[in-house]
Symmetry: C2
DNA sequence: TAAATAGAATAATGTACTTTTATCAATATG
DNA sequence: CATATTGATAAAAGTACATTATTCTATTTA
């Protein structure tokens, strides 16, 4: 004999799936399936960003004081097509807070203007320096007194790879 | 009259799709469809990482000198469940290369040992300090001579949110 | 009368199938 | 004979459908 039947509230409720929201079938490369599922499940690598204020003696991170959610790649990489990373070697930019083994976020889509910190190819090496570009004078300025500026003669061409936007330093 | 016909090489060739490889249909939350498609299309936010050496006068980034491909989130976030970000306020850790408005990557899954830089909740504020923890003495040490260490009395409990693993500094 | 159970309803999920797209070679054309 | 056209073919892409999972309540049972 029939039980249940048509009535309000019957059936599986909405939002009881893995993602607590409607889903859609999309096609992705086989090699990335696992990574994408992880990405989807973790909410796109969005992690909480906290500001300065919390309740006195607040023992652990709570939603109450979240400034927002943030994805690092999204935050640091404006245009994936023009962005790349460079591992720092040397101490020439120490006073700019750039240490050996730091990772620099570099955008070659930005204009290399006077005063910007840039990545340049000089003598088979990548160097980080502050660009000096005034009165037809082009110089790569270190920010460490132990190093000398590199003058670029007018006939030489300076190969600038891009402008440094961020420094990532491990502790 | 029939043209074409059954023959070797007929049909759409493999690898002529968007991803140049076979795809699979998977289900993802509707709200993330766009982000995931972007993620899939950009190869998972993997961007080139360059080391120090390139050919002299190499005018632009080339594959020849890539050290590898890197995803920032993957590289900086070991465990999404225990990681969060904190925006820096104040100058108390300047000598450790931590400036105002920098973003710190913090892992609360790591043990807060002596000598580590930690995030602690003190008097309703989040502070970054180096943890001093020896001989039953607990102190939060600034790295800037203009600031004083914060002593934690034995009866007080210090609320440590996590250990700072990376500093992200915008230029 | 209270607890257990089976049936129905409906969302969620995964995959099979249909539609679209790209390429090749046989044929037609100039 | 060189070039353009056409239809067959097969991969790629998107979607519909069948399956699975979950919840609710009417009925049964103790």
């Amino acid at each position: 004999m029939p039980r249940g039947g048509k009535r309000a509230g019957a059936g599986r409720p909405k939002g009881t799936g893995k993602y607590a929201e409607p889903t859609k079938a999309i096609r992705v490369p086989v090699s990335m399936v696992d990574k994408i599922l992880e990405y989807a499940h973790s909410g796109g690598f969005q992690l909480p960003l906290y500001g300065g204020k919390v309740a006195a003696g607040c023992p652990a991170p709570t939603d109450d004081y979240i400034e927002g959610m943030m994805d690092l790649s999204e935050h640091l990489v404006h245009d994936p097509a023009t962005t790349f990373f460079v591992r720092v070697t040397g101490y020439s930019m120490l006073n700019a807070g750039i240490h050996p083994d730091d990772i620099l976020v570099v955008d070659r889509g930005l204009e290399a203007r006077h005063g910007k910190i840039v990545i340049a190819a000089v003598d088979g090496e990548l160097t980080v320096k502050r660009l000096y570009k005034k009165d037809n004078l082009v110089r790569l300025m270190p920010e460490n007194d132990d190093f000398e500026p590199i003058d670029i003669a007018p006939q030489e061409t300076l190969h600038i790879w891009g402008v440094v936007t961020n420094v990532i330093h491990a502790l």
